[in-house]
Amino acid sequence: MDALTILLVVVALLLAGGYFWYVSLIRRRNGAREALSSIDVQLRKRHDLLPNVLKLAGRFMAHEKALLEEIVRLRSEAMQGYRPEVPEEVKAHLEAEAALQAAAGRLMVAVEQYPELRSVETMTEAQQTFTEVEGHIAAARRFYNAAVTDLNNAVEIFPGSLIANIAGVRRMPFFEIEEAARAPVNVDDYLN
């Protein structure tokens, strides 16, 4: 076998390897986007639920006007469109959702201070549905974060970084819960 044949075989192997790496990168990116769309399906449930909760809460929770207004603002921010292929827009979208989740969580804790509101059957059902929806969102977030970890590892590890650069495949942001939602609730704030 002469040197030229060897060179051609090596180049062919490199091209084939590069192609398979490219295919795997695109698969992972599409997997992450699919996971992102499954988050959106679950987030839409939260968006649909909140107006009813806010309407009901507004009748009883006069002292929480600021919180209710904040939730309305965050909801409209979170509902704004974004392009899934632009990581910066995805990040902004997920941050808006995380902020909305934290505020909605605060609202559900605040509801506990209003026994009249709690005794309304619609509110009890809304709270249960909210808990269920949050469970689905948490599951979708875990699915999305697993897909993003897969993609980001492939994009960052050489030679994936090289191929990703050529193919225009970029890292995607994780869906992280806002610090406020992670922090323990100060019961005194609500029991005074």
């Binding site: 499954s38 808990t131 469970g135 948490a138 599951a139 979708a140 699915f143 697993a146």
Partner: protein
């Protein structure tokens, strides 16, 4: 019954069992003990007759009257059959009286011979190995902590054929022995999720072929080491298998000795197949006195295994997260 007091300490759900025992079980046990003594005496007599008949047959054979040896052999076989019948009657008696009564105390229904049972559900989700013959017994159904449960003991066998010069021989090999349980699950879901024991590289690959759904990789490394998960819905699988629930499943796997459980989530139910090495709900040895407290202790411990599924997995919680 003083011995039951110590049992109540170990199993708090047994509070009030003493009174129940005195009222419901003790009279039946007294009758059963009388029957036990009588049947054991008959078994002894049958055994003695069978042994004497065999000895007679051997003596006739060596005396050159082999043709006459058939008669004592027939007597030996009939005596042995009668002894086995007595043994079977006693065992069924203990099951009927003791297991049924203890189940009744816990508000559960008991059936020694459950009929066809739930095998088709387990088969549909490929939770069981392939089998050709099934034997079901000891069905326990009812509620524990408001969670509906329906559990049956199963023995599944596969037919195999061995070929040799003298021809082929068919025989059966046990491929599963243990509990098949259906439990209410507190979350609403629509897809199917299956959790199987991790068997290692190539075997997992083969398991994947036989299991419906897409492989789900979860973030808990301990859980991933112990189990393999498939589901028709990736998000729903994670909704069911939360980090807390994964911990509980690992704990439950520990209760059953590790690597012994397979689960399916379908139609808002949890299906559990747990391999066990021993036969449950037998009511103890027929040679021990009927009122031996170890009998009750054994049955309670076996029922506790079923309750363990509900308690360890906290199926009674309606948090939905």
């Amino acid at each position: 019954m003083p011995q039951l007091a110590s049992l109540e300490k170990r199993f708090p759900d047994l509070a009030g069992f003493d009174t129940f025992h005195a009222r419901r079980i003790a009279p039946e046990l007294a009758a059963l003990e009388e029957r036990r003594r009588s049947l054991i005496s008959r078994m002894g007599q049958s055994g003695f007759i069978a042994a004497a008949a065999v000895a007679g047959a051997v003596w006739l054979h060596f005396s050159g009257a082999t043709a006459w040896a058939i008669a004592p052999l027939v007597v030996a076989v009939l005596s042995a059959i009668y002894a086995f019948k007595c043994y079977g009657d006693l065992r069924r008696g203990f099951k009927d009286v003791l297991v049924r009564a203890v189940c009744e105390f816990f508000g559960l229904e008991y059936a020694a011979e459950p009929g066809s049972g739930p095998l088709h559900w387990f088969r549909e989700l490929s939770l069981l190995p392939d089998y050709d013959r099934s034997t079901l017994e000891d069905r326990v159904a009812g509620r524990h902590r408001e969670v509906a449960l329906d559990v049956v003991e199963a023995k599944l066998e596969e037919r195999r054929t061995r070929s040799s010069k003298s021809g082929s021989k068919t025989y059966y090999v046990t491929v599963f022995r243990g509990l098949l349980g259906q439990f209410d699950f507190p979350k609403r879901f629509q897809g199917r999720t299956i959790v199987k024991t991790d068997r290692g590289g190539a075997l997992n690959w083969f398991q994947g072929f036989a299991t419906p759904g897409e492989r789900v990789r979860l973030e808990d490394p301990r859980f991933e080491d112990a189990f393999e998960v498939w589901s028709s819905d990736q998000v729903e699988a994670r909704y069911l298998l939360t980090p807390a629930f994964m911990e509980r499943l690992l704990a439950l796997d520990g209760h059953f000795g590790g690597g012994a459980i397979t689960l399916g989530f379908d139609a808002e139910r949890l299906l559990l197949a747990a391999r066990l090495r021993r036969n449950l709900f037998e009511g103890g040895s027929i040679f021990a006195p009927a009122d031996d407290p170890k009998r009750i202790e054994g049955i309670v411990a076996e029922l506790a295994l079923l309750f363990e599924v509900v308690d360890t997995l906290q199926l009674q919680l309606k948090t939905r997260i």
